[in-house]
Symmetry: none
Subunit: 202 residues, 4 copies
DNA sequence: CATGAATGAGACTTCATTCAT
DNA sequence: AATGAATGAAGTCTCATTCAT
């Protein structure tokens, strides 16, 4: 019991650090963010951070992994409900956008620090993240392929990637200039686009 | 005459540095790349770099701007030839992919160092680059809208962004695992997808 | 309690650095003195210096300001005791000389690095120091003017400046060739000189 | 003849450089002045400077020596004319002030770069300058002593140094705030002060 | 003579990480 | 467990001086 409580408190603190650090990393970028700043933001000392994370990189990647897993689970749940390709695509678009909007710090982190991820010397971590991303994609791809039309020249994998790429760029645009973009409208447009293409109304 | 030659040689050297630096920035990322390393790669001394670029940041952004402008011109030419929406989309996909493939160092740079761009303290540069990107998009959007079907619920801007987002993600996948991806095939799929959507063959 | 001790130790260390740095700046001049050298002299690492001073310039000016204030207070006390013009002039000469002799590192610093002070890009600091020097002078001038003879064509301000200028040059001569100069003698001569001029004994 | 002309032109150029460099050194200080800047100011290239001066230090000290000698000659002439102690002191004050005012760049240089002079690693140069300054002082001292009152407790050397020190500080004050100081008035006050002291009017 | 591109040693400063308290 | 003073490696940038043209 005693140790359970302790364990819980420790976990709580870890989460707290992760959340605060995510904000500050997102706002300033990995390199411009000092451990000093993270510590201050968390209300702890620098030393305390090192009781929970081995290094600045470890802290950084812990944030990413945490959220990537969360996104994966959320998406998986959403896609399971879909009964046809239309619902599948709509669910993907809706869920991924919503996740990015509610976790825009995370989104910004991933976009801004792609380089950190690709160039880290911790190759284990790098491979693991690329792997994770791949599984994420496969999961989506598999879910969509269940309702995929026969004889389509388009592969489910290509479709999935395309949709994700689109969502990324629209989210980024929205982050840079929120007022100029109506996300609800975009979601509808994208669903229409990926279902029927641009020539439906010709 | 004398000074012309000198000017030409100077320009030549500048280009040389830009090209070498692009490679090394792409390979290692902005922060992990030292001016020392760039200098060595160029076969010059550190000091020589500063004869052409005010700072490491200036060097970095000069690379980006150079290539972004080049891409803009290339794309504009390609889109002008298009006579209908099909040709327009195909041209966009073809040209942008080709540019990224032949300039994959540049592509990697942009993807990896998005954060550098977004978080630079040189706000003038930041605004200028975002502006440039916006114009790029507008240009594409305008070109496509010329052949756009009446009554489409999809805006040319949304379509353009979506296609660019897709190209980005596919290019990145290809860079990470070139053997698993047939780019020619992807180009065709994307053209099909954005013209007719996924339900054409239902 | 705990924090009091810490604060005291911190202050102690700051003072220690100031004192050691003063020596080395005086010996080598501002530009030739490296932070590395200061650190070594202090027995700390380079980084430790930056825990107490924002920059090399900050360290330098902190030394100056500290001592200038100290000199001001010392002089003010001495001048207050004077009951007539003779005592005033004698006190000024005695006190300022003594201060320079016991703080000859400081004196050398001010003489040698006048340029650093006049040309610093930190205009705030520059103005502040010139201001301080001015107040110093005004204070002396005021103190002397209390006992000033009526109808003198000489202003207290001119007298004060003149005495200070003389002290500077004699101190410098003494520093450069201590054995050739009897400071006690000089003090007496100067008192006589400023009281009665050179023609008294004609 | 040919070579005479050449020699003259060479000498002319040397003088030109000395004069321009004096200005810029005075304005910015020795360390902040780059050879690049001197070259530009002179309208020559950096390399050209090195045809006339061995190094930046050599250039700097050449300026000083040139002017110190000039001052020495000017002062010697003036003091020779003096027929009594009053004229001697008046001549010293008048001449030295005038020289500093017409050559205020030089004055500023000497004041600002005292440290450069005292701390130069070129000990030969340092000794030579200190020596020069000493001779300068001796010359003044000797000139004044000719008309010196018998039995004065004040040595000519002390008097000379004191006057020079006063002139330095008043010139500096005047340079920093020209409008607040009436130099003609100061000259008169100083003459009065050093002749009769402050108690004459008691 | 004159040039100015090139050099490269060297200085300041930052900051992740450690460890004595 | 928590702290934060201390470290020291590493990186950017400057600039006096040289030398091929």
């Amino acid at each position: 019991m005693q140790s359970e409580k302790k364990e819980a408190r420790r976990e709580q603190k870890r989460r707290d650090i992760l959340q605060r650090a995510e904000q500050i990393f997102a706002r300033q970028g990995f390199h411009s963010t000092t451990m000093e700043a993270v510590a201050e933001e968390c209300g702890w000392s620098k030393g305390a951070l090192y009781l929970h994370f081995e290094s600045k990189e470890d802290l950084f990647f812990s944030i990413i992994i945490e959220k990537v897993d969360q996104l994966g689970r959320t998406l998986e749940d959403a896609l399971e409900q879909a009964e046809d390709i239309e619902q599948g695509i709509a669910a993907l678009i809706q869920t991924q956008f919503d996740f990015f909007v509610s976790n825009n710090d995370f989104f910004q982190l991933v976009v801004s620090e792609q380089g950190k991820i690709l160039h880290t010397s911790d190759t284990g971590m790098r491979e693991s993240l690329i792997q994770k991303q791949h599984q994420h994609l496969e999961m989506i791809s598999l879910a969509l392929s269940k309702h995929f039309p026969e004889g389509s020249p388009i592969q489910a994998l290509t479709l999935s990637r395309s949709i994700l790429g689109s969502i990324n760029i629209h989210t980024l645009s929205w982050l840079l200039a929120p007022l100029t973009i109506d996300l609800e409208q975009i979601k509808n447009e994208l669903t229409e686009l990926y279902l029927y293409g641009v020539k439906r109304h010709v």
